[in-house]
Protein backbone atom coordinates (compact mmCIF):
# COMPACT_ATOMS: atom_id res chain seq x y z
CA UNK A 1 0.00 0.00 0.00
CA UNK A 2 1.36 3.38 -1.02
CA UNK A 3 1.63 5.85 1.85
CA UNK A 4 -0.69 8.81 2.17
CA UNK A 5 0.75 12.24 2.82
CA UNK A 6 0.41 11.83 6.56
CA UNK A 7 2.41 8.61 6.49
CA UNK A 8 5.09 10.25 4.35
CA UNK A 9 5.35 12.96 7.01
CA UNK A 10 5.41 10.33 9.72
CA UNK A 11 8.24 8.45 8.03
CA UNK A 12 10.26 11.64 7.62
CA UNK A 13 9.76 12.42 11.29
CA UNK A 14 11.88 9.34 12.04
CA UNK A 15 14.85 11.28 10.64
CA UNK A 16 14.58 13.73 13.53
CA UNK A 17 17.07 13.53 16.36
CA UNK A 18 16.95 15.08 19.80
CA UNK A 19 18.09 18.70 19.77
CA UNK A 20 17.66 19.16 16.03
CA UNK A 21 16.86 22.54 14.53
CA UNK A 22 14.57 21.89 11.59
CA UNK A 23 13.18 23.90 8.70
CA UNK A 24 9.99 22.51 7.21
CA UNK A 25 8.76 23.63 3.81
CA UNK A 26 5.17 24.16 2.76
CA UNK A 27 2.87 21.18 2.14
CA UNK A 28 3.73 17.67 3.32
CA UNK A 29 6.88 18.91 5.10
CA UNK A 30 4.74 21.05 7.42
CA UNK A 31 2.95 17.91 8.55
CA UNK A 32 6.20 16.44 9.88
CA UNK A 33 5.80 18.64 12.96
CA UNK A 34 2.83 16.50 14.00
CA UNK A 35 4.89 13.30 14.21
CA UNK A 36 7.92 14.25 16.28
CA UNK A 37 8.81 11.01 18.10
CA UNK A 38 8.25 10.78 21.86
CA UNK A 39 11.09 11.90 24.06
CA UNK A 40 12.92 14.01 21.53
CA UNK A 41 12.91 17.73 21.26
CA UNK A 42 13.19 19.59 17.99
CA UNK A 43 13.07 23.32 17.35
CA UNK A 44 11.36 24.56 14.21
CA UNK A 45 12.91 27.41 12.26
CA UNK A 46 10.78 29.65 10.11
CA UNK A 47 12.95 31.53 7.64
CA UNK A 48 11.05 34.79 7.91
CA UNK A 49 12.66 35.16 11.32
CA UNK A 50 11.62 32.79 14.09
CA UNK A 51 13.13 29.90 15.99
CA UNK A 52 10.74 27.87 18.10
CA UNK A 53 7.55 27.83 16.08
CA UNK A 54 4.50 26.74 18.01
CA UNK A 55 1.10 25.48 16.84
CA UNK A 56 -1.52 27.59 15.10
CA UNK A 57 -3.24 29.97 17.53
CA UNK A 58 -6.64 29.40 19.06
CA UNK A 59 -9.44 31.49 17.59
CA UNK A 60 -9.08 35.08 18.77
CA UNK A 61 -5.42 34.65 19.67
CA UNK A 62 -4.08 35.22 16.14
CA UNK A 63 -1.64 38.08 15.72
CA UNK A 64 -0.88 39.67 12.35
CA UNK A 65 2.69 40.25 13.51
CA UNK A 66 3.29 36.55 14.09
CA UNK A 67 3.35 34.38 10.98
CA UNK A 68 5.46 31.61 9.52
CA UNK A 69 7.21 31.42 6.15
CA UNK A 70 3.95 30.16 4.64
CA UNK A 71 2.33 33.38 5.88
CA UNK A 72 0.12 31.41 8.27
CA UNK A 73 -0.70 32.71 11.72
CA UNK A 74 1.28 30.79 14.33
CA UNK A 75 2.36 31.00 17.96
CA UNK A 76 5.62 31.00 19.87
CA UNK A 77 6.72 28.52 22.52
CA UNK A 78 8.90 29.05 25.60
CA UNK A 79 12.40 29.63 24.28
CA UNK A 80 11.38 31.18 20.96
CA UNK A 81 13.46 33.98 19.48
CA UNK A 82 12.87 36.48 16.71
CA UNK A 83 15.51 37.83 14.33
CA UNK A 84 15.77 39.58 10.99
CA UNK A 85 15.83 37.77 7.65
CA UNK A 86 19.58 38.20 7.17
CA UNK A 87 20.34 36.40 10.41
CA UNK A 88 17.72 33.82 9.53
CA UNK A 89 19.42 32.92 6.27
CA UNK A 90 22.75 33.36 8.00
CA UNK A 91 21.98 30.45 10.31
CA UNK A 92 20.77 28.44 7.33
CA UNK A 93 23.91 29.18 5.28
CA UNK A 94 26.28 28.46 8.14
CA UNK A 95 24.80 24.99 8.58
CA UNK A 96 23.23 25.54 11.99
CA UNK A 97 19.90 24.12 10.78
CA UNK A 98 20.27 20.34 11.12
CA UNK A 99 17.53 19.21 8.79
CA UNK A 100 15.54 20.78 5.99
CA UNK A 101 12.45 19.11 4.57
CA UNK A 102 11.19 20.30 1.22
CA UNK A 103 8.72 19.36 -1.47
CA UNK A 104 9.95 18.92 -5.05
CA UNK A 105 8.72 18.59 -8.60
CA UNK A 106 11.78 16.63 -9.70
CA UNK A 107 14.95 15.21 -8.19
CA UNK A 108 17.86 13.94 -10.26
CA UNK A 109 20.05 10.98 -9.42
CA UNK A 110 22.93 13.26 -8.44
CA UNK A 111 20.75 15.19 -5.98
CA UNK A 112 19.71 18.17 -8.07
CA UNK A 113 16.27 19.48 -7.19
CA UNK A 114 13.66 21.37 -9.19
CA UNK A 115 10.81 22.89 -7.24
CA UNK A 116 10.30 26.51 -8.15
CA UNK A 117 9.39 27.05 -11.77
CA UNK A 118 7.41 25.48 -14.58
CA UNK A 119 8.16 27.11 -17.93
CA UNK A 120 5.03 28.55 -19.49
CA UNK A 121 3.29 28.87 -16.16
CA UNK A 122 3.22 32.01 -14.04
CA UNK A 123 6.42 32.06 -12.01
CA UNK A 124 5.85 33.08 -8.43
CA UNK A 125 9.45 32.95 -7.32
CA UNK A 126 11.84 30.82 -5.37
CA UNK A 127 11.30 32.46 -1.98
CA UNK A 128 13.84 30.93 0.37
CA UNK A 129 14.10 27.60 -1.45
CA UNK A 130 17.33 28.32 -3.31
CA UNK A 131 19.04 29.49 -0.13
CA UNK A 132 17.84 26.44 1.75
CA UNK A 133 18.92 23.87 -0.82
CA UNK A 134 22.28 25.54 -1.39
CA UNK A 135 23.09 25.67 2.31
CA UNK A 136 21.38 23.00 4.35
CA UNK A 137 23.63 20.15 5.34
CA UNK A 138 20.85 17.60 5.37
CA UNK A 139 17.96 17.88 2.93
CA UNK A 140 15.10 15.42 2.82
CA UNK A 141 12.61 15.71 -0.01
CA UNK A 142 8.98 14.79 0.54
CA UNK A 143 7.14 14.15 -2.72
CA UNK A 144 5.08 11.77 -4.79
CA UNK A 145 7.08 9.27 -6.80
CA UNK A 146 5.32 10.26 -10.03
CA UNK A 147 3.57 13.33 -11.35
CA UNK A 148 -0.17 13.46 -12.11
CA UNK A 149 0.56 12.12 -15.62
CA UNK A 150 2.23 9.10 -14.07
CA UNK A 151 5.74 10.15 -15.09
CA UNK A 152 8.59 9.55 -12.69
CA UNK A 153 9.83 12.52 -10.67
CA UNK A 154 13.10 10.70 -9.89
CA UNK A 155 15.11 11.38 -13.01
CA UNK A 156 18.52 11.02 -14.54
CA UNK A 157 18.54 14.80 -15.00
CA UNK A 158 15.98 17.39 -13.99
CA UNK A 159 13.91 18.63 -16.92
CA UNK A 160 12.51 21.66 -15.11
CA UNK A 161 14.65 24.67 -14.16
CA UNK A 162 16.58 23.59 -11.10
CA UNK A 163 16.55 25.13 -7.64
CA UNK A 164 19.90 23.74 -6.55
CA UNK A 165 22.56 21.25 -7.50
CA UNK A 166 23.80 18.11 -5.75
CA UNK A 167 22.05 18.93 -2.51
CA UNK A 168 19.33 16.36 -1.79
CA UNK A 169 20.39 13.63 0.63
CA UNK A 170 17.22 11.59 1.00
CA UNK A 171 13.80 11.26 -0.62
CA UNK A 172 10.64 9.93 0.93
CA UNK A 173 7.77 9.18 -1.47
CA UNK A 174 4.52 7.28 -1.11
CA UNK A 175 6.45 4.19 -2.29
CA UNK A 176 9.94 4.34 -0.90
CA UNK A 177 12.78 5.89 1.04
CA UNK A 178 15.77 6.57 -1.17
CA UNK A 179 19.20 7.99 -0.57
CA UNK A 180 21.30 9.88 -3.09
CA UNK A 181 24.34 7.75 -3.62
CA UNK A 182 27.35 8.42 -5.82
CA UNK A 183 25.75 6.64 -8.71
CA UNK A 184 22.04 7.20 -8.23
CA UNK A 185 18.99 6.61 -6.07
CA UNK A 186 19.76 3.94 -3.51
CA UNK A 187 16.60 2.18 -2.38
CA UNK A 188 16.59 2.00 1.42
CA UNK A 189 13.02 1.07 2.30
CA UNK A 190 9.74 0.11 0.64
CA UNK A 191 6.31 1.23 1.73
CA UNK A 192 4.49 -1.69 3.35
CA UNK A 193 3.30 -4.06 0.61
CA UNK A 194 4.92 -2.12 -2.24
CA UNK A 195 7.18 -4.26 -4.42
CA UNK A 196 10.67 -3.42 -5.57
CA UNK A 197 9.38 -3.95 -9.11
CA UNK A 198 6.82 -1.17 -8.75
CA UNK A 199 9.51 1.20 -7.47
CA UNK A 200 11.83 0.20 -10.31
CA UNK A 201 9.09 0.84 -12.85
CA UNK A 202 8.35 4.30 -11.47
CA UNK A 203 11.96 5.47 -11.11
CA UNK A 204 13.45 6.94 -14.31
CA UNK A 205 16.90 7.68 -12.86
CA UNK A 206 19.39 5.01 -11.92
CA UNK A 207 17.95 2.98 -9.05
CA UNK A 208 20.33 1.01 -6.87
CA UNK A 209 18.83 -2.04 -5.23
CA UNK A 210 21.14 -3.98 -2.95
CA UNK A 211 20.06 -7.20 -1.29
CA UNK A 212 16.77 -7.43 0.52
CA UNK A 213 15.00 -4.05 0.79
CA UNK A 214 13.15 -3.81 4.11
CA UNK A 215 9.66 -2.42 4.54
CA UNK A 216 9.26 0.83 6.44
CA UNK A 217 8.49 0.44 10.09
CA UNK A 218 6.22 2.98 11.77
Amino acid sequence: MALDKFQIAQRIAKELKDGFYVNLGIGIPTLVANYVPEGINVTLQSENGLLGMGPFPKEGKQDADLINAGKQTITTIPGSSFFDSAMSFGMIRSGKVDLTVLGAMEVSENGDIANWKIPGKMVKGMGGAMDLVASAKNIVVAMMHTNPKGESKLLKECQLPITGIRCVKKIVTELAVLEIDKTGFKLLERAPGVTVEEIVSKTAGNLIVEGEVPEMVF
Binding site: T73, M126, A134
Partner: protein
Amino acid sequence: MSKIYQNADDAISDIQDGAVLMLGGFGLCGIPENCITALVKKAVKQLTCISNNAGVDDFGIGLMLQQKQVKKMISSYVGENAEFERQLLSGELEVELIPQGTLATRCMAAGYGMPAIYTPAGVGTEVAIGKEVRNFNGKDYLLEMAFDADFAIVKAWKGDTMGNLIFKDTARNFNPLMAMAGKITIAEVEHLVPVGELDPNHIHTPGIYVQRIFEGKNYEKRIEQLTLSK
Protein backbone atom coordinates in the same frame (compact mmCIF):
# COMPACT_ATOMS: atom_id res chain seq x y z
CA MET B 1 17.48 68.84 13.55
CA SER B 2 14.25 66.96 14.00
CA LYS B 3 13.58 63.63 12.32
CA ILE B 4 9.89 63.78 13.13
CA TYR B 5 7.41 64.10 10.31
CA GLN B 6 3.72 64.73 10.75
CA ASN B 7 2.46 61.90 8.62
CA ALA B 8 3.19 59.70 5.64
CA ASP B 9 2.38 62.36 3.01
CA ASP B 10 4.90 64.62 4.66
CA ALA B 11 7.56 61.92 4.96
CA ILE B 12 7.41 60.76 1.34
CA SER B 13 6.79 64.16 -0.26
CA ASP B 14 10.11 64.27 -2.12
CA ILE B 15 9.97 60.79 -3.63
CA GLN B 16 10.04 61.34 -7.36
CA ASP B 17 9.05 59.32 -10.42
CA GLY B 18 11.68 56.71 -11.18
CA ALA B 19 12.89 56.34 -7.60
CA VAL B 20 14.30 53.06 -6.29
CA LEU B 21 12.47 52.09 -3.12
CA MET B 22 12.95 49.37 -0.55
CA LEU B 23 9.77 48.39 1.25
CA GLY B 24 9.90 46.28 4.40
CA GLY B 25 7.64 43.41 5.27
CA PHE B 26 7.17 39.72 4.60
CA GLY B 27 3.86 38.95 2.98
CA LEU B 28 1.52 41.51 4.56
CA CYS B 29 3.35 41.27 7.89
CA GLY B 30 5.24 44.39 8.92
CA ILE B 31 4.55 46.41 5.77
CA PRO B 32 4.60 50.24 5.83
CA GLU B 33 0.87 50.66 5.31
CA ASN B 34 0.74 54.41 5.77
CA CYS B 35 3.55 55.12 3.35
CA ILE B 36 2.06 52.84 0.70
CA THR B 37 -1.23 54.71 0.96
CA ALA B 38 0.63 58.00 0.65
CA LEU B 39 2.60 56.79 -2.38
CA VAL B 40 -0.66 55.81 -4.07
CA LYS B 41 -2.12 59.23 -3.26
CA LYS B 42 0.96 61.01 -4.57
CA ALA B 43 0.67 58.92 -7.76
CA VAL B 44 4.44 58.75 -8.15
CA LYS B 45 5.31 56.48 -11.08
CA GLN B 46 8.01 54.35 -12.71
CA LEU B 47 9.12 53.06 -9.35
CA THR B 48 11.54 50.23 -8.77
CA CYS B 49 10.41 48.38 -5.65
CA ILE B 50 12.71 46.08 -3.72
CA SER B 51 10.43 44.06 -1.48
CA ASN B 52 10.26 40.39 -0.61
CA ASN B 53 6.67 40.19 -1.87
CA ALA B 54 4.31 42.33 -3.89
CA GLY B 55 1.26 42.39 -1.65
CA VAL B 56 -2.18 41.17 -2.65
CA ASP B 57 -4.57 42.74 -5.15
CA ASP B 58 -6.15 45.16 -2.70
CA PHE B 59 -3.47 45.58 -0.03
CA GLY B 60 0.20 46.35 0.33
CA ILE B 61 2.23 46.95 -2.80
CA GLY B 62 -0.74 45.55 -4.73
CA LEU B 63 -2.35 48.98 -4.29
CA MET B 64 0.56 50.60 -6.13
CA LEU B 65 0.44 47.96 -8.85
CA GLN B 66 -3.24 48.72 -9.43
CA GLN B 67 -2.33 52.34 -10.11
CA LYS B 68 0.46 51.20 -12.44
CA GLN B 69 3.06 52.99 -10.36
CA VAL B 70 5.62 50.20 -10.43
CA LYS B 71 8.03 49.73 -13.31
CA LYS B 72 10.04 46.95 -11.75
CA MET B 73 9.71 44.60 -8.80
CA ILE B 74 12.74 42.95 -7.19
CA SER B 75 11.32 40.19 -5.02
CA SER B 76 11.69 36.59 -3.97
CA TYR B 77 8.04 35.57 -4.20
CA VAL B 78 5.18 37.34 -5.92
CA GLY B 79 2.15 35.07 -5.86
CA GLU B 80 -1.33 35.95 -4.62
CA ASN B 81 -1.82 38.89 -6.97
CA ALA B 82 -3.89 38.77 -10.16
CA GLU B 83 -3.15 42.32 -11.31
CA PHE B 84 0.54 41.65 -10.84
CA GLU B 85 0.27 38.60 -13.07
CA ARG B 86 -1.66 40.52 -15.74
CA GLN B 87 0.95 43.32 -15.88
CA LEU B 88 3.79 40.82 -15.94
CA LEU B 89 2.31 38.80 -18.81
CA SER B 90 1.47 41.96 -20.77
CA GLY B 91 5.01 43.24 -20.39
CA GLU B 92 3.99 46.37 -18.46
CA LEU B 93 5.87 45.21 -15.38
CA GLU B 94 9.43 43.98 -15.12
CA VAL B 95 10.18 41.43 -12.41
CA GLU B 96 13.51 40.27 -11.06
CA LEU B 97 13.20 37.22 -8.86
CA ILE B 98 16.02 36.58 -6.44
CA PRO B 99 16.44 34.15 -3.57
CA GLN B 100 15.06 35.42 -0.27
CA GLY B 101 18.34 35.09 1.62
CA THR B 102 20.16 36.85 -1.20
CA LEU B 103 17.61 39.67 -1.00
CA ALA B 104 18.10 39.97 2.76
CA THR B 105 21.86 39.84 2.56
CA ARG B 106 22.09 42.37 -0.27
CA CYS B 107 20.18 44.77 2.00
CA MET B 108 22.51 44.02 4.89
CA ALA B 109 25.54 44.51 2.67
CA ALA B 110 24.35 48.00 1.76
CA GLY B 111 23.81 48.88 5.40
CA TYR B 112 27.19 47.50 6.38
CA GLY B 113 29.11 49.23 3.60
CA MET B 114 30.05 45.95 1.94
CA PRO B 115 29.88 46.33 -1.86
CA ALA B 116 29.08 42.69 -2.51
CA ILE B 117 28.67 39.35 -0.79
CA TYR B 118 29.19 35.71 -1.70
CA THR B 119 26.32 33.28 -1.27
CA PRO B 120 25.81 29.71 -2.47
CA ALA B 121 22.12 30.35 -3.23
CA GLY B 122 21.41 29.92 -6.91
CA VAL B 123 24.67 28.28 -7.93
CA GLY B 124 24.03 26.11 -10.98
CA THR B 125 20.59 27.64 -11.58
CA GLU B 126 19.34 30.37 -13.88
CA VAL B 127 19.93 32.85 -11.03
CA ALA B 128 23.66 32.38 -11.64
CA ILE B 129 23.52 33.51 -15.27
CA GLY B 130 25.87 36.40 -15.84
CA LYS B 131 27.21 36.29 -12.29
CA GLU B 132 30.67 35.55 -11.03
CA VAL B 133 30.99 32.07 -9.55
CA ARG B 134 33.83 31.55 -7.14
CA ASN B 135 35.01 28.56 -5.21
CA PHE B 136 35.96 28.87 -1.56
CA ASN B 137 37.02 25.76 0.37
CA GLY B 138 35.56 23.46 -2.24
CA LYS B 139 32.15 25.09 -2.50
CA ASP B 140 30.85 27.42 -5.19
CA TYR B 141 29.37 30.83 -4.39
CA LEU B 142 27.80 33.63 -6.42
CA LEU B 143 28.94 37.20 -6.11
CA GLU B 144 25.88 39.33 -5.38
CA MET B 145 25.94 43.12 -5.24
CA ALA B 146 24.72 45.32 -2.41
CA PHE B 147 21.50 47.14 -3.22
CA ASP B 148 21.53 50.83 -3.93
CA ALA B 149 18.14 52.31 -3.04
CA ASP B 150 17.11 55.96 -2.89
CA PHE B 151 14.64 55.39 -0.08
CA ALA B 152 14.04 52.62 2.42
CA ILE B 153 10.51 52.60 3.79
CA VAL B 154 10.04 50.49 6.88
CA LYS B 155 7.49 49.80 9.57
CA ALA B 156 8.39 49.33 13.23
CA TRP B 157 6.39 48.69 16.35
CA LYS B 158 7.95 51.41 18.47
CA GLY B 159 10.27 54.22 17.62
CA ASP B 160 11.63 57.24 19.45
CA THR B 161 12.19 60.76 18.26
CA MET B 162 15.86 60.04 17.54
CA GLY B 163 14.84 57.32 15.10
CA ASN B 164 15.65 54.30 17.25
CA LEU B 165 13.40 51.40 16.27
CA ILE B 166 12.04 48.24 17.86
CA PHE B 167 10.19 45.65 15.82
CA LYS B 168 7.63 43.15 17.04
CA ASP B 169 7.75 39.40 16.42
CA THR B 170 8.03 38.29 12.80
CA ALA B 171 7.07 41.78 11.63
CA ARG B 172 10.80 42.40 12.00
CA ASN B 173 11.77 40.40 8.87
CA PHE B 174 13.37 42.70 6.26
CA ASN B 175 12.60 45.96 8.08
CA PRO B 176 15.83 46.47 10.06
CA LEU B 177 17.92 45.37 7.07
CA MET B 178 16.27 47.83 4.73
CA ALA B 179 16.39 50.54 7.38
CA MET B 180 20.18 50.24 7.28
CA ALA B 181 20.32 50.19 3.50
CA GLY B 182 18.48 53.24 2.23
CA LYS B 183 20.16 56.53 1.35
CA ILE B 184 17.16 58.01 3.12
CA THR B 185 15.23 55.81 5.51
CA ILE B 186 11.64 56.57 6.40
CA ALA B 187 10.21 54.70 9.37
CA GLU B 188 6.56 54.56 10.24
CA VAL B 189 5.86 53.27 13.72
CA GLU B 190 2.80 52.19 15.63
CA HIS B 191 4.01 54.03 18.71
CA LEU B 192 6.25 57.08 18.60
CA VAL B 193 7.68 57.53 22.07
CA PRO B 194 9.82 60.23 23.70
CA VAL B 195 13.56 59.80 23.58
CA GLY B 196 14.82 57.79 26.54
CA GLU B 197 11.78 55.56 26.75
CA LEU B 198 13.30 52.65 24.83
CA ASP B 199 15.83 50.42 26.57
CA PRO B 200 19.15 50.91 24.71
CA ASN B 201 19.71 47.14 24.88
CA HIS B 202 16.41 46.39 23.13
CA ILE B 203 16.81 48.69 20.15
CA HIS B 204 17.00 46.78 16.88
CA THR B 205 17.78 49.71 14.59
CA PRO B 206 19.90 52.53 16.00
CA GLY B 207 18.66 55.99 15.06
CA ILE B 208 21.70 56.74 12.93
CA TYR B 209 20.09 54.69 10.17
CA VAL B 210 16.76 56.53 10.26
CA GLN B 211 16.33 59.98 8.74
CA ARG B 212 12.55 60.37 9.07
CA ILE B 213 10.03 58.96 11.49
CA PHE B 214 6.31 59.36 12.08
CA GLU B 215 3.54 57.64 13.93
CA GLY B 216 1.27 55.86 11.49
CA LYS B 217 -2.45 55.61 11.97
CA ASN B 218 -5.34 53.26 11.26
CA TYR B 219 -3.19 50.18 10.94
CA GLU B 220 -5.20 47.40 9.35
CA LYS B 221 -2.47 44.75 9.75
CA ARG B 222 -4.29 42.35 7.51
CA ILE B 223 -3.78 38.63 7.99
CA GLU B 224 -3.08 36.82 4.72
CA GLN B 225 -3.52 33.21 5.86
CA LEU B 226 -5.59 32.87 8.99
CA THR B 227 -4.83 29.43 10.41
CA LEU B 228 -6.22 28.35 13.75
CA SER B 229 -5.93 25.41 16.14
CA LYS B 230 -9.05 23.85 17.49
